[in-house]
Amino acid sequence: MRIAVCIKRVPDMDVKFRIAGHAKGVDETGLKYDMADFDGYAVEAALQMMEKEGAGEVVVVSLGPDAVQETLRKALSMGATSAIQLKCDEVPFDGFAVASALASELGGATYDLIMFGRMSTDNANGVVGPMVAELLGLPVVTACSKLEIVAGRGTARRELEGGAEFVAFDLPAVVTIDEGIARPRYPSLKGIMAAKKKPLATKPANLPEPRLVIARMDLPPERKAGRIVGEGAAAVPELVRLLQQEAKVLA
């Protein structure tokens, strides 16, 4: 089976973000980057399918500047077979532009399965996978928490509120992956050394004009300091009064 996994390089979400001077993006100084969380699950799921089959290949694809090569190398060190960088100076916010560039690369090759994370951990639009499917005329299953492929036919489990649904589909297809499918493996030292020798192709990204741009970014307003109204039972009447008259949460 030939699997493509599309991965995105995103900032580490544990840090405190600052907005850049132009207010259209985050200040990148001091940020650490890594593969988006859901994309990690997708890579792991793809590798497990390849290992189970004992054959096939996993091609990882990422769109962006040369820095994405680091993310691609990470996927290679986890065990992916080869990598493609679709080179552009910056990743557009418009998911359709990204999907078009990916579809123009992926449509030319014969993949049995094209995989994505359910959404990127930075922008969280979750649209690129379904748009690629649409552009390529393939069936799409989003947010799979389990995936099985038998003889050219796939079954996927999707988590619902209080239940699950099972979806059947024919290959080739596009799937987007939810967490819980498989814990991404740590790249081993042996994998890191092997990755150095695996092919990483760089091609220009075939990006259309974006139809969406970020107009402005805002941080949530600073929370105002709380007020201590008193202590113990003596404070209750005043608290009730404030909740009724100021906060208006009590009738």
């Binding site: 100084t29 001091g30 680091e70 190398r73 990470k74 060190s77 740590y186 790249p187 081993s188 030292l189 042996k190 994998g191 890191i192 050394m193 990755a195 150095k196 105002k224 300091a225």
Partner: protein, 597 residues
Amino acid sequence: MPTFRAPVVDYRFLFRELFDVASLASLPGYVNADLDVLLTALEEGGRFCEDVIAPLNMPGDAAGCRWEAGDVKTPEGFPAAYAALADAGWLSLACDPAYGGQGLPFTLRFAIDEMLYAANLSFAMYPGLALGVYEGLYAHAGTALKELYLPRVVSGKWAGTMCLTEAHAGTDLGLIRTAAVPNPDGSCLLTGQKVFISAGEHDLTENILHLVLARLPDAPPGTHGISMFLVPKFVPDANGAPGARNAVFCRSIEHKMGIRGSATCVLDFDRATGWLVGEPHKGLRAMFTLMNAARLGVGLQGLGLAGVSYGNAVAYARERRQGRSLSGVKDPQASADRILHHADIRRGLLWMRAFVEGARALATWTAFQIDVELRHPDSSVREEAADLVALMTPVIKAFFTDGAFVATNIGVQTLGGHGYIRDYGMEQFVRDARIGQIYEGTNYVQALDLAGRKLPDGNGRMLRRYLAIVRAELAEAERDPNLAAMANAFGAAVNRLSRGAMHLATKGIANGDEVGAAASDFLQIFGYVAVGHMWLRQARVASQRRVTGGKMDQRFYDAKIRTARYFFERMLPQTETLLVTLMSGAGNVMDFDDDAW
């Protein structure tokens, strides 16, 4: 529970800007040591330590090891973590590819070791000892033993120990009694008892290889009659699988102040089968090749513990609000300021930071010298590097572990009562750090090794070589007007080091106690100068790069320069006091009647 964040950013600076780590790839045998590979390895090795190894640290301390009828059960999660460490190749990263290793440089291994020790010292003892056996066999065993045993250590299937100490023979190994009697087939039967054997028995691997010091029947007394033997827990069968159970048994394990997840064993050898490694009666010398590596490793343990304690202390000081800043309220909307605003909290945190980042640079510098010593094509370059490593070994062992005890205590102090109770894990770092000042040769033994052995060797050749490097760095720093004050302070400390060395050389000839009484002060001066050398270099590089642009951001360079300033103004001046006490001579400690104690 404390968290461990791998110091990847600092290592990126050390590998790319402070030292020319990329040049290692041009040394014979290091073709795989591409800088990209090393940087990725730092990143992913760090993540492995953070996510897989560190979470086992506090529970492992609480549970400890359990001895049951000769078997030892390590804390939950240790066996799986050991297998994961080995499978991923972290265990064997610097081992010879001929035996399944990755053939990567020691410069990377030291960095990964620091992270492992910081994440979980108790756990990291086991791979550390296994690699000790690897190095002992690699350097001294014959081909047959190497081919049988080395691949199994490298793969993580078998682990090992170093069996030196006996109940009556600790520092003085000349006293050991364990006896080895040759068999007609070339093997030996060993009988005796060893104590304080780290990783002597455990459930991490299917076999354990003991490297044992013992005496052959014709051995001369003292240290020149000691030989080294390999005694496997299970004697390998014809296929190299663990076969017959050998007569080496764990009698008990110790209950200790720290590293409670590391099994410290009493081992009984009762006519156990072993094989001589290296030449008869030269075992102590052979064991010293791994002792030296182990001493550097213990220094890295100190560095790791100081680093993890620092990270957690800073995180707490950032959040905890108590009192108001003495220079005026900093956060008027909150009921108190963060303790990070208090001058004395900063004084402590900066002590930790300057110690950790200076020591980390020195460890990396030394590891780089080890790689040159092992791989450089030019023998005179190799010899010089070997001298530098030999000179720095006792300094790193003692100065880093003494510093770690101070640093981890500042860590506790920063959290106040919350540091003293167990929940935050800060007191564990203190307890775990304490052994570093004792094992692999107490810090006094290190000081004697430095002052009594390394200094006189070749009429001070090692020190002369080192001082030439230090003075060259000083001359470079003097060219940068921004560094004038630091260079000035450092120059004075270097002169104190020379004066201390001169005092030892002149007074020590007539009376050995003069060396004994001055050695620890001398080692401390040496440590401050060696770490100061690294701070001067870091300040110089940061000062250049913040102007010309480098790979790190501006704030990183600024912080380096400010930490350097703290080091030169508040830590290095210790050398002044140390020189005064050193010069005061042996009289004030030796002129005391025995019966007055």
